[in-house]
């Protein structure tokens, strides 16, 4: 949906790293390398990045509830 502000499990703030993560991926880095460079170490935090699909902008075009 949209990148969570923090890791679900450990509470580390993550959302501010999402754009950097995307630009690393665009530059052809593997997710492993991108996350290592951003200091996303624990696998709980890594799962937040790997599991996120940015859909908010698509959903935003429709009327809410």
């Amino acid at each position: 949906m949209i990148i969570p502000i923090r890791c679900f499990s450990c509470g580390k703030p993550l959302a501010h790293l999402w754009q950097d993560y995307l630009s690393h991926i665009k530059a052809g880095k593997t997710p492993k390398k991108a996350m290592d460079e951003l200091g996303v170490e624990r696998y709980c935090c890594r799962s937040v990045f790997l599991g996120n699909a940015d859909l908010a902008d698509i959903i935003g075009r429709f009327r809410k509830g």
Partner: protein, 275 residues
């Protein structure tokens, strides 16, 4: 050395406790604590997680919201934004007091934005200029053409035991490994070296050695000693620990330590009065 310095040293000898910063990677600092027990540092860890006060957004009132996300969704996201906390000017409100009543319990904020564009944490304006989001780039919600967002609210001092948004960091510790190579000339040296997933063991001019620089990266997983018990001897020190703080930014490491100990201290005092 001054007299005061000598006194301090004498006292330190009595306790034999030592702390030193051994590494800092991104937001995580690791300290080597000597002369402590697991029960002791775990009580500090738990106090730091649940009893150290920080600021976090607690109430949000929406004026306009035509963004893709529901009000409560945005309020929840705002609550998780970590805020630089001025620990000397703010206090945790007592249970029966409305935090809005006194300036020392809360700080007000507001935001209004029109699409298109990303609403970021940097857009929040607080009534106290010392309070700021630690990561201003944090995305709150993306507004499309014609969408609007406007809200006001308060951030309140609180404790991690009530909600983890008030925790100052993620804190953990592990034992300090003791790794010995019993037989450095072993024939299978290279396969022993390869058995360590952290690359602690290496072969140098035909001898199997421990890479001392990496010693603290050992996770005590035991893979090396399990596969090659006649070559490797693995144990850990009883009274030394690697204590790590992944700081979420609200407070400095030293402030977290200090506040945690103050919290424990006041609990002990309360108990000793009650007994």
């Amino acid at each position: 050395m001054t007299d005061a310095g000598k006194e301090e040293e004498k006292e330190a000898e009595g306790f034999k406790m030592k702390a030193e910063l051994v590494s800092k990677k991104f937001t995580t600092s690791t300290y080597l604590l000597k002369g402590v027990t697991p029960a002791f540092i775990n009580s500090i860890r738990r106090a730091a997680l649940s009893l150290v006060p920080t600021l976090a957004i607690e109430e949000v009132e929406f004026v306009k919201n035509s963004s893709p996300l529901y009000d409560e969704f945005i309020a929840h996201r705002l609550g998780l934004v970590s805020l630089k906390t001025d620990i000397d000017s703010y206090e945790v409100p007592p249970e029966d007091v409305d935090p809005r009543e006194f300036a020392k319990y809360h700080v007000a904020f507001k935001l209004s934005a029109k699409g298109p564009g990303m609403v970021k944490a940097s857009g929040l304006t607080f009534s106290d200029p010392k309070i700021k989001p630690i990561y201003p780039e944090t995305p709150i919600v993306n507004l499309l053409e014609g969408q609007e967002l406007e809200f006001t609210g308060i951030a309140v001092m609180g404790l991690g035991k009530e909600h983890s948004k008030w925790s100052p960091g993620h804190i953990f510790y592990k034992n300090v490994p003791e790794l010995k190579v019993k037989n450095p000339k072993a024939e299978n040296a290279s396969s022993v070296a390869n058995s360590c997933p952290r690359g602690l063991l290496k072969v140098e001019s035909g001898k199997l050695i421990v890479d001392e620089k990496k010693l603290f990266e050992c996770t005590l997983c035991g893979a090396c000693a399990e596969a090659f018990p006649d070559v490797i001897e693995l144990s850990f020190k009883e009274d030394e620990f690697l204590f790590s703080i992944d700081n979420f930014g609200q407070l400095k490491d030293a402030e977290i330590f200090k506040k945690a100990m103050e919290a424990l201290d006041s609990k002990f005092k309360e108990l000793s009065k009650a007994v």
